[in-house]
Symmetry: C2
Subunit: 137 residues, 2 copies
Amino acid sequence: MSCVSTLKAKGLKLTPQRMMIVDIIHDAKEHLTADEIIRHIQANMPGVNKSTVYRTLSLLEQYGCVYKSELSEELIYHHDEVGHHHHLMCSRCGNIIKCDEDLFIPLKNLLMEKYGFDANFKHIVMSGFCEKCKNNN
Amino acid sequence: MSCVSTLKAKGLKLTPQRMMIVDIIHDAKEHLTADEIIRHIQANMPGVNKSTVYRTLSLLEQYGCVYKSELSEELIYHHDEVGHHHHLMCSRCGNIIKCDEDLFIPLKNLLMEKYGFDANFKHIVMSGFCEKCKNNN
DNA sequence: TTTATAATTGCAACCAGGTGCAATAACAAT
DNA sequence: ATTGTTATTGCACCTGGTTGCAATTATAAA
C-alpha cells in the first residue's frame, strides 16, 4: 500500500505539504536527515514550517511509510527500499565500524517469535568499545 | 578500577564537581536522567552548571565509568552494577514491551568475535511494530 | 456549490543537550 | 609554600526537535 493511500485510509488529510514530504523521501537515493528534508521542501514551498515537517515525519513513521534510525548521533529518515547497514560506534574514540547486517537476523526472528514484535532493523547503531579502546583503558 | 583512579590515571583533574557527580551515580539505586543528576548536584553545590554535568557524564562514559542508554526517548545514565533490561518500543502506539536480555547474548558474542567490539548491552531500546499495530495497518 | 467539522498548519515559545571562550582551579615541579 | 601549566568551569549562545494554540484548509455531507 502506498504512503498516500495509507494516509487516506486513515482519514488523514492529503495536504500539499505532506505530499511533498512523501515525494522527497521517495525520490531520495540515500537516507536523509530531518534538516535536509526541511531544506528540500523549503526550496519548493517556501514558508513551510519545520514543525510541520517533524510532525509529518513522525506520522509517516507511525504508519510504516518511513523509517527513522540514528546514525552516529543524528537522526535519519529513509524509505523502505533504500539500502541499509548497521554500525558499531565506540563510546571512547567515536569510531564507527560497519557491520554485517546478517548478524542481526537471528535476533530479529527471535523477537518476532517470542513477542510478535516486528523490529526495525533497517539501520542500527550499537554503542560499546572498539577493540583498541577496550584494551587501552 | 574505580572511577576516581581511572580519572587520575588519565591525568584528569578530580574537581569537587566531578567527585560529586561520580558519587551521585554510584549511590543511585536506579538509573538517572541527566536532569535528575543536575538537580541532585545543584541541591548540594548550587551554581554548578549543566554543561559541566553533561561534559562530566560524557567523560565518564568514554572511560567506561557510566553507561548511557536510551529509555523511550530519554537518555539515562547508570552505573555498571545497576540492574538492566531491554525494551521493544512500538513506533505506532508507543507501547513498550519488556524483553528478555538473554536474547541478545548470542549477538553480543558474535560482535565480539567478528569485530572485537564490546557492545554495551546494558539497556537496549529497539523500535519496530508491536503485534497489534503490525496487524492493524 | 456551499457549509460544517475535524485535521493540519504556522507561529512563538520551549526543551534537552552541546560548544567556544575567557576566567579559574587542580596538580606537579620547584 | 609558591609558581606555572593545563584541564576544567561557568557563561552565553546555539542546535535539533517538540508543543500549545489560534488561524486555516481538506474533505464529507447537504
